[in-house]
Each structure stands twice: as structure tokens, then as C-alpha cells.
Symmetry: C2
Subunit: 227 residues, 2 copies
């Protein structure tokens, strides 16, 4: 198909398509004439992935290019694709700042207690220690107790992530799943956490707590008679 | 203590303290003379919380002010504080965009299957549906299978969150815990997910997958003999 059809099919405007081509996020079509090229289904799929990474994953164009390059590198091992996607989606300020020794030790303890096998350079390892420092610094050291239960939930999520990867038919599809799952998975989990927080709050706190702000939260059925 | 001591004790520079005072993030000290005020431990604690929200939570000063206002509003019910913190920490583009009916129905199904009780306006409910749309749009509809297992993990995390809140001595401390936990908890969970992903990957994929990039991931002990 021509670029105009590609735009119509994908819903991505022609100027954006040209921009992604120039920046190397989208592979060129097959040249059919000077200034004319033929695009296929692979281009439609790639455009959808690009838009998901940028619009929903919140990645910059430059960062999206990095993770797409990882997908496109032949023989990039899965761990390498994960590494690129993880770094792309991690806030640089959280893993480039050096945490305290005590915070590092707290995170190391979680890894050891769970018998996890993780390199020293894992971006999450450093980011987690920086959050530990922030809890203590903010005077909420009691929130450190969360880390063990969060770790259990994180393991479940990671197992689900890798199960989804394992179901893919080939290495290229696996790499794409790693990128889409890593980048969009954070947003999905954060959203579900907000839903679950509201549910648990409505279950645990009786209705009269909400009277001052009735539009904020509905009353859990179990608590409706408490008013 | 004077503002210079407050700066020394909290590690926050005087110009930043003055900025937070002007913007209303930090309550004024007790005036002792013209242009002089006395600050106490509450100011030190509040400064630590402000820095945690901005530096680690990634909030803007304006957004940090909104959640701190929620803490400082007398009789704001816990659900209201949660609501403010959730909105503050949610990416506006993810919950202000209207998801498709199909995506909404998928998320509604998760809420119904889990017997969760959640308002229609929960920001996570809308954000989750937008992520569902992104999975499908990116050609990775298979990743929708993740949502049920993610939901189970999100419930565990939310229960841990509310347990931490319940342990607080008074309503004001509970409100602070809600804010610190909501804002920093996303960063903590995302970090632990990256750690767990590396662990599960090293467990499931044999060593020779990593030969091409040996500095990326260590080899899980179980797989060391496979090379």
C-alpha cells in the first residue's frame, strides 16, 4: 500500500509516519519509484506499537527508538531486550542516583530472602533502594514493611509477564511482547492498584467516614447499614 | 529553630524552603520578629515529605501542594485523601482519554469477577481501559490475559497499603501514610517488578541465551551447567 493508505489504515497522520521513518522507528517501505514506496501489514503493526509506546507508555521518540532497535537487533537475547525495555521505562533519576548503604542492604535482604537471582546493575534494584531512602527520609519508615508483600506481588506479575512471552511463536514476537508488556505493564498495574485500593478502602472503612465527601467513594454493600 | 537551622537539619536549601512557604506547601513558622520565624520538628518532617513527593514521586510542586492540602484539610475522609493522591500520581493523559466500550467492558469484567466495589470515576478504572486499548492497538491482544493475574497481585498490594494505613496512631498520620504510600508505592512496585523479571528470566532461559551479551544478566545457578 501507499503511504496515504498506510495512514488511513493505521490512523497515524502522514507527517508522523514520515517523522518515524526519518528517525528510524519505522522501517522503510519497498521503493517502487522515486519518492514512492510500498508498505505492508508489518508497517501497520509497527505503527500501532510505536503509538502505544509513546502515547500510553509515555516514552519519548528517542527512547521508543532504543527499545524498537532492541527488538530489531538479530540475536539480541531476551534478557537484553528486557534490559533495554526496563531501562527505557525506568525513571532515570531513580536509578542514576546512589542510594544509601542501608537502603541497598534492605533491598539486598529482600532479594536474598526470596532466593532471587539478580545482577547488581538491575535498574530496579537501585530504584527500589532510592524509594526506601525516600520512605525513611519522609519520616514514613513504617512503610518499609510493605516491601516484602510488594515483592511477593511483583514475583506473580513477573511470572505472568514471562508466561506471556513464552507463548509467542518466535523470537521476534517474544521480543515485541517483552517491550509492549514491560512498557504498558507498569501503567496497567498502577491502574489496577488504584481500583483495588478503592475496593479495600470501601470494605474496611464504614460508610460514615465518607459522608463528608459522598461523591468520592461509594459505600460498600457490607457497610450500607452502618450509617 | 531559625530558617537557617531548618535548612541545615532538613538538608533543604533556604531558597527552596522560602519557595515552599510562598507556594503554601509548608506551613509558616511562629513569627518571632519582623521577617523572623520559629520552626519546629513538624516543619522538618513536612520538608522531608515534600522532597520525597517531588524528587522520588516525580510530582510537580503544584500537584504536591494538592495532595498536601488533602492531608491538611480537617475531617477529609481517608477515601478523599486516597482520591487526591491517586489522581495526583496518575498520568492525566491516561485517565482523561475516553477508552473504547470494549476495553471498559473488559475492565468491568475484572472488577465484577473479583467482586470488587469501585466507583465509575475511579481514575484507575479508566486508565486500565486505556491500557487495554493500547495492548489491542499494538497488536498484542494476547497481553490482555495478564490482567487477571495482575489484578490478584494488585489486591495484595492494596491490602498491604491499607494495613500500613490502619497501623497509624491518628487520622492525620493515616492521611500522610496514604499520600506517601500511594505516590512512592508505584515507584517501589515498578522497581521490584524489574528485579523479579530478571530473576524469572534467569531461571527460565538457559545460559546460552545470554552468551551474546554476558554483561546484561548473570546466569542463574540452576542453569550454569547448561553451557
Amino acid at each position: 500500500m501507499r503511504i496515504s493508505e498506510l495512514a488511513a489504515t493505521s490512523g497515524v497522520p502522514i507527517p508522523s509516519i514520515k517523522y518515524y521513518l526519518r528517525e528510524g522507528l519505522l522501517q522503510p517501505g519497498d521503493a517502487t519509484a522515486v519518492n514512492q514506496a510500498d508498505y505492508g501489514d508489518a508497517h501497520v503493526r509497527r505503527l500501532s506499537l510505536i503509538r502505544a509506546l509513546i502515547d500510553v507508555g509515555g516514552l519519548s521518540v528517542a527512547t521508543a527508538k532504543e527499545v524498537l532497535d532492541a527488538i530489531d537487533t538479530p540475536d539480541m537475547p531476551l534478557a537484553g531486550v528486557f534490559g533495554h525495555a526496563q531501562v527505557a521505562v525506568s525513571r532515570a533519576d531513580l536509578y542514576q542516583r546512589a542510594p544509601s548503604e542501608a537502603a541497598r542492604a534492605r533491598v539486598d535482604g529482600v532479594i536474598r530472602d526470596n532466593h532471587w537471582f539478580v545482577s547488581d546493575r538491575n535498574p530496579g534494584r537501585i530504584a527500589a533502594a532510592n524509594v526506601v531512602d525516600a520512605f525513611v527520609g519522609a519520616g514514613h519508615g513504617e512503610l518499609l514493611d510493605l516491601i516484602d508483600r510488594y515483592a511477593g506481588a511483583a514475583l506473580e506479575v513477573a511470572q505472568a509477564d514471562l508466561d506471556a512471552v513464552a507463548k509467542q511463536p518466535d523470537v521476534s514476537a517474544m521480543a515485541e511482547t517483552v517491550v509492549a508488556g514491560t512498557v504498558l505493564g507498569d501503567a496497567l498495574f498502577a491502574a489496577l492498584r488504584r481500583i483495588a485500593q478503592e475496593h479495600v478502602t470501601s470494605e474496611r472503612y464504614p460508610v460514615h467516614d465518607y459522608d463528608a465527601r459522598p461523591d468520592c467513594l461509594p459505600t460498600h454493600p457490607r457497610n450500607r447499614n452502618a450509617s
